[in-house]
């Protein structure tokens, strides 16, 4: 191998221990014979490998999970409100007062639930409650065809 090739390998596979046994052997053979490449390899190791090896691992701060948990909860609530709102406007567009009324009632209950029970501690209870309300909402909407598909129900409850 020529010096140029050796130097390229030194900078990549050799430095990163990604060479085969045979490759390693032939590189090291060259390094024992060629001063320029040997010095290059030594410098590469010193500048490009050593400083990184003593780097301490970085840890995510402890409070970060709470922030993320809060953001997930906030997003969940906003989606619920949005879906409820969409369902509500859809129902009125459907011109079927009987179904519209029942949906309005369900939606109001739902919104109350979303607003009143925000904390994760009450999540299970709230979820059961919301599930019930939503099932009702979805069933009552079945015949009014406001375009509620399984997909968005899945998206939030499955």
């Amino acid at each position: 191998m020529k010096c140029k090739q050796i130097k390229e390998l030194v900078l990549t596979d050799y430095l990163d221990d990604q060479v085969s046994k045979e490759q390693k052997q032939s590189i090291e053979e060259h390094l024992t014979q060629c001063t320029a490449c040997r010095e290059f390899a030594a410098e590469a190791k010193e500048v490009l490998k050593n400083p990184f090896e003593s780097v301490q691992p970085i840890k995510a701060p402890d409070h970060l999970w709470n922030k993320i948990e809060g953001a997930i909860e906030k997003h969940r609530q906003e989606s619920l409100i949005q879906k409820a709102w969409d369902a509500l406007s859809g129902t009125f567009a459907a011109h079927k007062p009987v179904f519209a009324l029942s949906t309005v009632a369900a939606t109001i209950l739902l919104l109350v639930a979303v607003v009143k029970i925000p904390a994760w501690q009450t999540q299970t209870a709230a979820n059961d409650y919301l599930n019930e309300q939503f099932e009702y909402l979805v069933y009552s909407d079945d015949q009014t065809d406001v375009g509620l598909s399984d997909t968005w129900v899945d998206e939030y409850f499955l």
Binding site: E8, L11, T12, A44, L48, F52, I58, A60, I68
Partner: protein, 182 residues
């Protein structure tokens, strides 16, 4: 890094927050570390990390088991980090002139650990984002060429080329800073 059980992934995808927290605990240090090294400060790193896990949370149900969860989260992390950098107009690599010898010879941080971090950050700051991410994944996170290629969706020779260019740059830089290091 302990692999996350399939059952945990399924549960988390179904909205189980405890399961999701387990995924978070497994990968948060990796995600934070990458974003911290790419952005260079705590606030941005926190924002990026939060963004990554919200994306993971939102898309977990679409996660295809063809790739490993690890590679998938790595990929989201890298994309989010690089896009964030672009948005913040930080993508332009700092030229040698801007970094300046002065900055490299700035007063040393208080502890030896900080000193090493500082030195590494300064070295990385002269690379462009593509080179920088390859260096971080290889030299600090210890990913193999294959893993880097998968995480970046590039081929292995591109990984090699980026590492080579990055390292050539660092070597040439070293020649300029050596007299000031002592």
């Amino acid at each position: 890094m302990k692999p996350v059980a399939l059952e945990t992934i399924t549960k988390a995808a179904q909205g189980d927050l405890y399961a999701f927290e387990e995924i978070y605990r497994t990968f948060c240090n990796f995600v934070y570390s990458i974003s911290w090294r790419m952005s260079g400060n705590n606030e941005d790193a926190e924002e990026i990390t939060q963004d990554v896990f919200l994306k993971v949370h939102k898309s977990l149900k679409n996660f295809e088991r063809r790739s490993s969860l690890k590679t998938w989260i790595y990929r989201i992390t890298i994309n989010t980090t690089i896009n964030y950098q672009k948005r913040k107009h930080l993508k332009t690599p700092v030229s040698l002139d801007e970094v300046g010898i002065e900055k490299f010879a700035s007063p040393l941080p208080s502890s030896p650990d900080e000193e090493i971090q500082d030195r590494v950050n300064k070295l990385l700051s002269v690379l462009n984002d593509d080179q920088k991410i390859c260096m971080i994944l290889r030299n600090i996170e210890g990913l193999s060429y294959e893993e880097i290629a998968q995480s970046l969706k590039i081929n292995i020779n591109t990984v090699r080329t980026r590492l080579k260019r990055a390292r050539e740059k660092l070597l040439s830089l070293r020649k300029e800073v050596v007299p000031y290091e002592v």
